[in-house]
């Protein structure tokens, strides 16, 4: 299925892009992160990230659907 990914902060720097559309066999964020972390060389362990699907925070086992927009959130530093 096709998934749209948005990247922020150091993940965008490392990926060299702020978004991409991927055709993936991953069915949940856990597997999807393993796939893209390998490809882009992301150093964050999943424990340090949060995941959002379609602009809402979800768990790592959330079932992905075709057309979903997924964001892996590195630790935040607002304020």
């Amino acid at each position: 299925m096709k998934i749209r990914l948005l990247y922020f902060a150091s993940l965008a720097d490392r990926a060299g892009r702020t978004e991409e559309i991927r055709d993936t066999v991953a069915t949940n964020p856990r597997d999807l992160y393993a796939e893209i972390a390998r490809e882009h060389g992301f150093a964050f362990a999943p424990e340090r990230l949060r995941v959002a699907v379609n602009d809402a925070l979800v768990g790592w086992d959330h079932a992905l659907a075709d057309g979903d927009e997924v964001v892996f959130l590195p630790p935040v530093s607002g304020g």
């Binding site: 948005l6 922020f8 902060a9 490392r14 150093a43 959002a52 602009d55 959130l73 630790p75 607002g78």
Partner: protein, 145 residues
């Protein structure tokens, strides 16, 4: 008027504070975060804030709603900047009004702590030595992940 907002333009603190007024409120507490010229012993020259807009707005709104349920407030608001900021610029404004100052202090502190902990906004610090880096949880710049 939304209780939490992102703003690409300078924050109008006076207008935000005016929105906290209530005839039963005995006072208000505000916190302003300013861009300071140092962090962890490094000289900082400027910052960029990047936000995941849709989630930042909903998470910020959830924090303000939670504050209004947890504390005996008359009103509470928060605005966070995005984009390029210089030393001295206001990065974030938080305000809470209440009948009694205990609630206003506690809520203002709780809101800024939760915003810093939960709202998806990231700071890229630019240093006097020409380096820069995105700040992630501990405050350590991590460069590219």
């Amino acid at each position: 008027m939304k209780r939490f907002a992102l703003s690409a333009a300078p924050i109008d603190a006076a207008a935000e504070k005016a929105a906290l007024e209530h005839p039963a409120a005995g006072g208000c507490v505000t916190f302003e975060g300013w861009v300071r010229n140092h962090n962890e012993a490094r000289a900082v020259t400027r910052l960029d804030y990047q936000a995941y807009g849709a989630l930042a707005e909903s998470e910020g709104a959830a924090i303000l709603d939670e504050a209004c349920r947890q504390f005996a407030l008359r009103a509470a608001r928060c605005v966070h900047r995005t984009g390029a900021l210089a030393i001295g610029d206001m990065a974030v404004w938080v305000g809470a009004s209440a009948d009694h100052r205990d609630a206003a202090f506690a809520a203002c502190r709780w809101i800024i702590d939760e915003v810093k902990r939960r709202v998806p906004i990231w700071k890229n610090e630019h240093y006097a030595d020409g380096e820069s880096g995105w700040l992630h949880p501990s405050g350590d710049p991590v460069g590219p992940a």
